[in-house]
């Protein structure tokens, strides 16, 4: 059984016991434990069920590479699935439950799948669920959804907050082990600004567990001294609990900081996403131990040898009383030695190698009385929910059992793989190291920056160095090189520390144990624990032709689980290579993509949630609209009142009332959102002639003109009224959504093509509150405020004037988007509310009412005015809308002119704008299509038009609409069929799009 022992536990604070729960069971651990170490201390060997076969699974590792120990963590608004027990720090009150089992962890119905495993081979989904086709959607997928999946989805809104943080440095060191710390010290001594990120809460990485001495000091004490030195340096920032998640182009790195996961009651954000720009990145990310492939290597109690050592030294946890060690390298001997020294039993070390002479570690193990069995291997691990024993065979054979050891744990080591993920994210290449049987960073092919030079350097174990002395020297040299390329210089007296050397015997690559394992054994030999991929699956994939590593990965799902193949990657590649009789480097690796280890969605979103999910733009009158019951409509990032329903009034009724009131009395609209761009300079007229389809240079100061703007492809992109302020100055109104984009459009042309035009622009949209005063009583209302002559003679239609109204400095435009007598009045934004209030008072006995955007739409539709975004959709040209009158024939050029002459644009069969009137007065459905004769090549009915705007007009008492129709203007009076999505077919007659006051008498009074 696994238990806490009296000695060891260097990371624990044994004076602070904490309680936590697992599957409702109350357990105890210590401050400093991870959830994994605390579970093992409580003999909780079984922690989950596998994804596909629901096999019992236990903790395998002690770090982020852990594939099995995923739990649902927390409750309510702090519930989170798929949390790794090995990277979860224990805190008092932690609640966890295992995943992927039903009805319980101990008894799982789904485990029947393991007896069906012969029927669930690689590619099973693709083979089985393809026929009959409809079954996938209706039968297979729902069943698979139910039985598969890891943790539960959270139900509540996340109760925590998150944030981003932007940081900059010369050298970013990822990894706080000896290599990272030595690299940081070297870079810092040369004068660089350094940040060091360490994913755990502790410095030093594996070194304090693995041991050794540096310049005569035990490595643990060396680490402490180094950290102390670094923390006093002004140019160094040390951060624990921050994982380097991803490396991106231009030295951009994401760091994932877990601020309160270990102390959830602390104030402040839970996670912080560091967005770091570094001059150079040093990846000192260490290495991950590989499992060995033998039958039963997934039974709870089979663990990585170094992790067994971690639990013993760091947490004082014994994984078993009797632990069989199985290895192909010297490092696992350290585990056997540590266990024996702690008073635990190691019945044997099964070493797959046959070596001519003992290495120092072997000799030491033998001195301790441990039985070392060279050339031996695990034939099979026995047990179900925990290990009961190991059957030993010869590595070179086919698995004939020679001896059996009863035991409760197996410590395995198949060698080490450098953590090359961050090196590879931006394209750093790898090279196969035959001696170490591993991929290591190819120093000649680093990820390249904009200057063509590498911007990532690997150091220490991440670069493929495993002896302490080599690690320190490599880290020192790497950082020295990095500093030099950045223009810093290391002082001559700053030299690398030296560690005592301990020679190790070379590793022997072992990808299958025993070498000649039969199918029966291979079917219980797991490569990817989380996705239940076995040696037999990879071999089958190769046999079926999935020989590309990326194909085999997807076919078998090898390495596609939440651990992204940290343990399974190399073993899987080697198995594939073996099946193909190819070299491992010829097979290659799959692509390493960020993040290195899953990061929370909350950290990605940062602060952007709730009120600040997106910016909401508010006009100077926003509060008034809100107080007066506005129904909001989002327009771009703005909120505009859609209508102002009164108590007991439906929104539709409110819109009808607003239309009728504006047509008969007086309406007021907040038009502040419309774009206002000043265009000034000696070439302003010439510039606007190029931007608008019609002539603007001929406009006289004091006058306004409606204009259309097209893209260079001829499509209509914006419209609005242009006012000429003086000889050199124009004010261009744009649509609400167009203010920023049209300003940018102007600047782009000025800065890239027409740099010789003397024109300046300024977007002054937000400087003004602009209020439309509309209706037969508009002039009377403004005259009550007094201060300007607004008579027809003094200010005619399409003119503007500066002046004061009711004491407010303002600019009055006599323009109309409603067909009524209408003024749009701009005042400084800070005066907007006061001016609106003054208008409401003045209009009180004139029947004034505010109106919203829907009323505005109906008013303009009654007049046949087009709306950008309704009548246009990016494929419509002004000619389609019958706006030829606004296209100058005199101008040599304007943006879009040439495009509009292309054959497709000049095609007479382009759909053209018409009015549509239902035969029964009902309202056409928005976006409905008119159907014509016959069918197209896809067997669909031919379309001959579509509705672009449709409303019920209270003024006319019937439905009115506009639409684009094939040969529309030539088909006046014809009735078209518009099938609706409600099953009804609407009939509408083609009419003139101007439904109301065609001669414009009402706006011209």
């Amino acid at each position: 059984m696994s238990t806490r022992i009296a000695t060891g536990g260097r990371l624990l604070n044994k004076s602070n016991a904490v309680s936590f729960s697992f599957n409702g069971k109350q357990l105890r651990g210590f401050e400093g434990d991870t959830l994994a170490s605390a579970l093992l201390a409580n003999d909780q060997m079984l922690v989950g069920r596998s994804f596909k076969y629901h096999r019992p699974r236990g903790i395998v590792a002690a770090g982020p590479e852990e594939p099995n120990a995923l739990v649902n963590l927390g409750q309510g608004d702090r519930f989170e699935p798929n949390q790794r027990a090995t990277t979860t720090e224990l805190f008092d009150g932690l609640q966890s439950e295992s995943q992927n089992h039903w009805p319980s962890l101990e008894f799982d119905v789904g485990a029947i799948n393991k007896h069906l495993s012969r029927f669930l081979p690689a590619g099973f989904y693709y083979k089985m669920f393809i026929h009959p086709r409809p079954f996938w959607k209706h039968v297979y997928e729902p069943i698979i959804r139910h039985s598969a999946g890891l943790g539960k989805a959270p139900k509540d809104l996340d109760g925590d907050t998150y944030e981003h943080f932007h940081a900059f440095c010369d050298v970013l060191v990822i990894g706080g082990g000896v290599a990272g710390l030595e690299a940081a010290r070297t870079a810092a001594l040369s004068g660089a600004k350094v940040i060091v990120l360490e994913q755990t809460a502790h410095w030093g990485g594996r070194a304090p567990v693995d041991g050794g001495t540096v310049d005569g000091t035990p490595v643990g004490a060396f680490v402490d001294t180094l950290v102390e030195e670094l923390s006093t340096m002004e140019n160094v920032t040390l951060r624990t609990r921050v994982m380097g998640a991803g490396v991106y182009d231009h030295g951009y790195v994401l760091g994932y900081e877990r601020l309160t996961d270990h102390a959830p009651k602390t104030a402040g954000p839970r996670h912080r996403l560091w967005r770091i720009r570094a001059g150079h990145i040093v990846t000192a990310t260490g290495a991950i131990e590989r499992p060995l492939s033998f039958s039963g290597n997934d039974i709870p109690g089979v663990m990585l040898a170094a992790s067994v050592r971690d639990y013993l030294v760091n947490y004082g946890v014994s994984v078993g009383d009797r632990t069989v060690v199985v290895t192909n390298n010297d490092d696992a001997y350290r585990t056997a030695i540590a266990l024996t020294e702690a008073g635990l039993t190691v019945p044997a070390i099964l070493d797959a190698r046959v070596l001519p002479q003992d290495s120092a570690l072997m000799a030491r193990a033998k001195d301790l009385g441990i039985r070392v069995m060279m050339g031996h291997a695990v034939a099979r691990v026995t047990g179900g929910k925990r290990v009961t024993g190991v059957e030993v065979c010869s590595q070179s054979g086919e698995g004939a059992v020679l001896e059996t050891f009863p035991c409760d744990a197996v410590a395995m080591s198949g060698g080490w793989s450098p953590v090359v993920h961050l090196w590879s994210h931006c394209g750093g290449k790898l090279t196969w190291d035959t001696a170490g049987a591993m991929f290591r960073p190819d120093v000649n092919n680093p990820p390249l920056g904009a200057d063509g030079h590498g911007f990532v350097t690997a150091a220490g174990a991440a670069a493929g160095f495993f002896a302490l002395d080599d690690i320190l020297h490599d880290a020192h040299a790497a950082a020295d090189g990095v500093a030099t390329t950045l223009g810093f210089k290391l002082p001559a007296d700053a030299v690398s520390p030296n560690a005592d050397r301990q020679e190790e015997a070379p590793l022997a690559p072992v990808w299958m144990m025993p070498q000649g394992a039969n199918v029966k054994l291979r079917e219980k030999t797991f490569l990817d624990y989380q996705n239940d991929v076995k040696v037999s699956d990879v071999r089958l994939a190769a046999q079926e032709g999935f020989v590309s590593v990326e194909h085999a990965k997807r076919y078998t799902t090898l390495g596609m689980a939440t651990d992204q193949g940290k343990l399974s990657n190399i073993n899987g590649l080697a198995t594939l290579a073996g099946a193909m009789d190819a070299d491992i480097p010829a097979v290659g690796t799959t692509t390493f993509r960020p993040p290195y280890h899953p990061i929370s969605m909350g950290s990605i979103a940062g602060e952007a949630r709730g009120d600040v999910f997106q910016p909401i733009r508010r006009t100077p009158l926003h509060d008034w609209h809100e107080t007066n019951g506005a129904d909001w409509e989002p327009v771009g990032h703005w909120r505009r009142p859609y209508a102002y329903p009164r108590k007991g009034e439906s929104t539709h009724d409110a819109v009808m009332r607003e239309v009728t009131n504006t047509r008969s009395k007086l309406g007021m609209l907040d038009a502040s959102t419309l774009g206002k761009i000043i265009v000034k300079g000696p070439d302003a007229g010439r510039f606007l002639d190029m931007l608008y389809t019609n002539m603007m240079s001929s406009l006289k100061p004091g006058k306004c003109r409606y204009g259309l703007m097209c893209s260079e492809n001829g499509f209509l992109i914006d419209d609005g009224v242009v006012a000429r302020i003086d000889e050199e100055t124009f004010l261009c109104h744009t649509t609400t959504g167009g203010a920023e984009s049209i300003h940018q459009h102007m600047e782009e042309w000025l800065q890239t093509e027409w740099w010789d035009f003397n024109v300046y622009t300024a977007n002054v949209t937000e400087q003004y509150a602009q209020i439309a005063v509309v209706g037969p009583n508009a002039r009377t209302c403004l005259e009550k405020l007094g201060g300007m002559d607004l008579s027809k003679e003094a200010l005619a239609f399409m003119e503007w004037a500066d002046g004061t109204l009711g004491g407010f400095k303002c600019r009055v435009y006599r323009i109309s988007f409603s067909g009524e007598l209408s003024y749009e009045i701009a005042v400084d934004a800070g005066q907007g509310q006061a001016f609106w209030d003054a208008l409401m008072v003045a209009g009180n006995d004139l029947g004034v009412m505010p109106y919203g955007t829907e009323c505005l739409h109906i008013l303009r539709a009654e007049k046949g005015f087009i709306m950008i975004g309704d009548e246009t959709d990016g494929t419509v040209i002004p000619q389609d809308l019958g706006l030829n009158w606004a296209i100058s024939k005199k101008k040599d050029d304007y943006l879009g002119k040439r495009a509009q002459q292309r054959t497709h644009m000049a095609d007479p069969t382009r759909w053209k704008l018409v009015g549509l009137e239902t035969t029964d007065g009902s309202t056409l459905p928005d976006g409905a299509y008119a159907v014509g004769e016959g069918e197209n090549e896809n067997g669909q009915r031919n379309m001959i038009g579509r509705v672009t705007s449709t409303y019920h007009s209270p003024t006319l008492g019937k439905g009115i609409a506009m639409g684009l129709v094939l040969n529309g203007p030539d088909r006046m009076g014809e009735v078209l069929d518009f099938p609706g999505t409600d099953g009804k077919t609407y009939q509408a007659k083609i009419v003139d799009p101007v439904f109301y006051d065609k001669e414009g008498a009402k706006q011209n009074v």
């Binding site: 944030e163 943080f165 900059f168 104030a267 000696p682 300046y760 800070g830 907007g832």
Partner: protein, 193 residues
Amino acid sequence: MSEAVSALKAAEFTGGIAEVTLMDPIGMISVRGDLTAAYMKKALKKAVGLGLPDTRSVQINGDRGVAWMSPDELLLLCPYDQVSDTIDMLTKCFGSNHTLAVNVSDARAVFRISGAHSRDVLAKLAPVDLSPATFTPGMIRRTRLAQVPAAFWIEEGDSFRLVCFRSVALYVYDLLKIAAQPGSAPVFYSAKP
């Protein structure tokens, strides 16, 4: 005319790792022209009593100032009620030269962010190197604050002046409050404890 109203009613946040305060409106004039020309130097001298700021710099002289915005754009600061006089003065100095000077005072909202962690608070929202050695008094950054444009400079000590568009004043205020929430100091740009 009535009293000019700022984008938000009084807004002040305390109790976090920095204080956030909405400021009264100040006069702001967007100026475009040839920044190196003699007429520009003369106009700046007359209008705000200052010279041409360097790239990404701001000069402050009491309640007046001038900030570099782009190679052909400046932002002039003055008391809110002196904007028209200042524009008149500029226009006179510019003469017939091709220039632009427009009042943008009401298009903006102004905040002060102060306290020992003001640099850290801003760095949560803006992709700017705010280390005291890099971002020094006299500098201005036209940048973004989360999802909207903003500009800021150091008022004095650890107090920053931040300008954003008027329509997003509430969004910016809410952002700053979240970034300044208690217990959230990264302690990266602020001095080590």
